[in-house]
């Protein structure tokens, strides 16, 4: 399968790889997917007191498209408010990365990761 230039770029130079302190009250962690299915994404966000995502980190086990999708969303959520981040849709990710139909599930998983991270953050803040 041929990969788009954007997928290759994110795969070769993944943005924001790493971890944030899970115990920090301002950090939300989303872990989605399953090893048996071949992809697991962990997305973490740190949110300022006025609700802006100031930092995001990811680690992904999965194919190049899964790595690229999660790398991309760390870039996209940074600087957005939590509510704005929730408007990111898998279609936007798939379109931006020019994912072929068999790789759409990677973008779906990345959207799930954003939701899971935000849910975790809200739960910590008692808003969940």
């Amino acid at each position: 399968m041929a990969y788009s230039d954007k997928v290759i770029d994110h795969y070769e130079n993944p943005r924001n790889v790493g971890a944030l302190d899970k115990s920090d009250a301002n950090v939300g962690t989303g872990l989605v997917g399953a090893p048996a299915c071949g992809d697991v994404m962990r997305l973490q966000i740190r949110v300022t007191d006025d609700g802006v995502i100031e930092d995001a980190k990811f680690k992904t086990y999965g194919c190049g498209s899964a790595i690229a999708s999660s790398s991309l969303v760390t870039e996209w959520v940074k600087g957005r408010t939590v509510d704005e981040a929730l408007t990111i849709k898998n279609n936007d990710i798939a379109q931006h990365l020019a994912l072929p139909p068999v790789k759409i599930h990677c973008s779906v998983l990345a959207e799930d990761a954003i939701r899971a991270a935000i849910e975790d953050y809200k739960r910590k803040k008692g808003q969940g």
């Binding site: 795969y11 992904t60 086990y61 190049g64 899964a66 799930d112």
Partner: protein, 404 residues
């Protein structure tokens, strides 16, 4: 060293230049139809075909009349099973085979199942081998044919065909084996191994694509198969169609070379395989070798790189042609059925890479590939949340993953 490097010799092999050289005259000056009995063009073609038939027969210890040329091993497997059932179906309709056969056998067996046959799927060990005792247990009074492959195309495991053949003989059941991966790499003797039907493919042994053969035993017992392709009655009625003389000549030449060079070439590919394995295992912690180390094709290496997904690893190895058991590389989005059948869990199946070393690989290429693999796995593990959790001592099986 030239890039990209081809290390996928279980999928196909390049034609040996000596094979191409032998083939060329049969596309131009010697273009005759081997069935034209009344002129020199036909005679020359027939002579070339009969020489090739001898060369192919010799590779497996058969006689030339027992070789039926086909379009490839898929056709050979189809004829072996369907042709036998059509001919002997009145005696019984039970087939015994294994779940790690090539799809050409599995899918044919399933088709026969839908058409009135019964199929017993043998258990396979974690080493990817069939126990001859299990074959004996599976045989019933109505069993017509047992089909167990010689060497597996994914994990390289080599079955004890002689022992399985002996069991089949004892019970008077026909024995078919798909020897596509072993022919020219591992000695084959249809007499000593008690094989009745055997499938071969030229393009897996440095011959051209589009040509294969089915060995059909003529004595003790005389095996009969009904044809799948009807027509002019070529190949003693078992496979009609004008013989592709140039391809047959190439197949014959490939068989001749494979037999002459088997010992030295297998030793060389085995040494390269072991060099690759040693370098990878030295540079990458926590790998899993899939299949048997002892009973294995010399050029095959199948390794699961735990906590790394196979397709992402292939992406890092894009100057290297290898393959993966990962679902992401298959059209079906299912991980390899062979790895599943030997009991590998899905995550390790997703993490597997198959290296297939062949005649034209060099030590320099092996070193380059090993180095690339070591670096790529380190990079991808640094990206892998599973590797991080594993390093922290978290048991990944204790986590409730949401399947998707």
């Amino acid at each position: 060293m030239k890039l990209p490097i081809y290390m996928d010799n279980h999928a196909t092999t390049p034609c040996d230049p000596r094979v191409v050289e032998a083939m060329l005259p049969y596309l131009t000056e010697q273009f005759g139809n081997a069935a034209s009995r009344n002129h020199a063009f036909g005679w020359a073609a027939e002579e070339a075909v009969e020489l090739a038939r001898e060369q192919v027969a010799k590779l497996i210890g058969a006689t030339p009349k027992e070789i039926v040329f086909t379009s490839g091993a898929t056709e050979s497997d189809n004829v072996a099973l369907k042709g036998v059932i059509e001919f002997y179906g009145h005696k019984g309709k039970h087939i015994v085979t294994s779940p790690i056969e090539h799809k050409a056998v599995i899918d044919t067996a399933r088709w026969l199942e839908r058409n009135g046959c019964e199929v017993t799927w043998l258990p396979v060990g974690t080493d990817g081998r069939v126990d001859p005792a299990d074959v004996e247990k599976a045989i019933r009074p109505d069993t017509v044919v047992v089909s167990v492959m010689h060497g597996n195309n994914e994990i390289g495991s080599v079955n004890d065909i002689g022992a399985i053949g002996a069991v089949c003989k004892k019970h008077g059941v026909l024995f078919h084996t798909d020897a596509v991966q072993t022919a020219g790499k591992v000695p084959i003797d249809v007499e000593a191994m008690g094989v009745d039907l055997l499938s071969l493919s030229a393009h897996k042994m440095y011959g051209p694509k589009g040509i294969g053969a089915l060995y059909v035993r003529r004595k003790k017992p005389r095996v009969r198969v009904a044809p799948m392709v009807h027509g002019g009655g070529h190949e003693r009625g078992m496979r009609s169609g004008t013989l592709p003389v140039h391809q047959i000549v190439g197949f014959g030449k490939a068989a001749e070379l494979a037999l002459a060079e088997m010992e030295s070439e297998s030793a060389r590919t085995l040494a390269l395989r072991e060099r690759l394995r040693a370098k990878i295992e030295e540079g990458v912690p926590e790998t899993v070798l899939n299949g048997s180390l002892e009973h294995r094709l010399p050029g095959n290496l199948n390794i699961s790189f735990t906590f790394v997904e196979g397709e992402s690893l292939l992406m890092a190895l894009r100057d290297v042609a290898v393959s993966s058991g990962s679902a992401c590389t298959s059209a079906s989005l299912e991980p390899s059925y062979v790895l599943r059948a030997i009991g590998l869990d899905d995550e390790n199946a997703h993490s597997s890479i198959r290296f297939g070393i062949g005649r034209f690989n060099t030590e320099e290429e092996v070193d380059y590939v090993a180095d690339l693999v070591v670096k790529a796995v380190a990079k991808l593990r640094a990206l892998s949340p599973l590797w991080e959790m594993h390093q922290e001592g978290i048991d990944l099986k204790s986590i409730e993953w949401a399947a998707h």
